[in-house]
Symmetry: C2
Subunit: 235 residues, 2 copies
């Protein structure tokens, strides 16, 4: 915890266009971060803590500073579907008609900038450049959700898990990408990949037995053979 993101909110997103305003495209300027910091409050969440529930009235939008957060929806019969996993620099708090569209929960201990929605809307109306950055981030969320849907479309369990590991490797680079941390339970992986938690376990074992990865305890894997992992992800 307590990384450099403490000073002011930061947003991280792949650019949409090549060089939209001639700017770098993604990160906020110092002034923008300062403007956000004036209306935002840094909030701490414990492991497993619920941040808001689906259907709650929209009050704040969040940008994650540290830790991992999951947003989820309940599958009319109590089955939890995780719609997104969020990492530092990501935003959450998507709403529809003034109510949160998902529930949000801290997967690990986490810190997030809590931004009052009304004040944010006013700020965006006054600063089109800042608003552009949020638009780019929203479109980043579209791509992310579509990638997730593609993962769910994979029929093989091993393919989904392999793809999930590659996804995590992009999002959480550690040790030059060889070590992939799994800072969540098997149940969370299951609810994100649409598999039963037994299938998650079996698929990880299968990738281990195939020599693609090595388990570094239950919450980290070392990628031994990236080519084989990619091959397993394709099918």
């Amino acid at each position: 915890m307590s990384e450099k993101g403490d000073a002011a909110p930061e947003i991280r997103a792949r650019p949409f266009g090549n060089a939209p305003h001639g700017a770098a495209g993604v990160a906020l300027s110092a002034e923008q971060r300062h403007a956000l910091a004036r209306i935002a409050r840094l909030v701490h969440f414990a492991h497993g803590q619920t941040i808001y529930l689906q259907g709650d009235p929209l009050t704040h939008v969040y940008t994650l500073a540290a830790g991992v957060v999951a947003t989820y929806r309940m599958n009319d019969e109590g089955v939890r579907h995780i719609t997104a996993l969020l990492f530092p620099g990501d935003c959450f708090g998507v709403a529809e008609a003034g109510r949160y569209f998902n529930a949000a929960e801290a997967v690990t201990e986490a810190e997030a900038w809590q931004i009052p929605f009304r004040e944010l809307a006013a700020l965006l109306e006054a600063d089109p450049r800042l608003e552009w950055n949020f638009l780019v981030k929203a479109l980043d969320g579209v791509r992310q959700a579509q990638r997730h849907a593609i993962l769910l479309d994979r029929h093989g369990a091993v393919q989904r898990i392999a793809l999930f590991l590659e996804y995590l490797r992009r999002e959480m680079p550690a040790n030059g990408g060889r070590i992939v941390p799994l800072p969540m339970s098997r149940s969370v992986i299951a609810d994100y990949t649409g598999l039963s938690l037994e299938s998650v376990s079996r698929s990880l074992s299968a990738l281990r037995d195939a020599g693609a990865i090595r388990m570094e305890g239950p919450h980290a894997v070392e990628v031994l053979d990236p080519a084989r992992l990619r091959e397993a992800a394709e099918g």
Copy 2:
């Protein structure tokens, strides 16, 4: 074809907040539509025509005026995954780093407003209210993609198809919602729901045999028993 959307582009989206600027939240103002019309061009696409391919350089963004468009990505081994079905009032042309993230294809004969991206970006920078509307629409796309992921998470084939029908009923209201048009081939439904096209056909037959729907030819269904359909969608 040739509906009222001809005069100028229109955008349709559920609002994000309750009443963001005190405005209606979603539709464009007459001035905004006019401003867009000045830089946009209304383009016609034939049934099945490719609009752009995944990876093509980003040149235009589109808002659909009439017809149905699908965006899709190829599943490294030639398997097509449809990421979204688009209806009049929807936008497409999502890009990453200056290249289209999906391919786009006209599912039916279609008309779309073709907006040069650079000019749109300039316009948005000058008009924060318009930019807000695009932000709201982008967040609408996030929700839509998440709903799609939830559909793919349903394990039963019948559940997915029932949910797909309810989805179409919301998007394409016809005859007061009793008749649901299916203006696409079984193959498109299969690629959107992640099923084989045989399973699509079987699931529709199962819903028919269960008395939930009645087939009105291959490209329309009448919902006989909405409660039973919803029940089938849940499981």
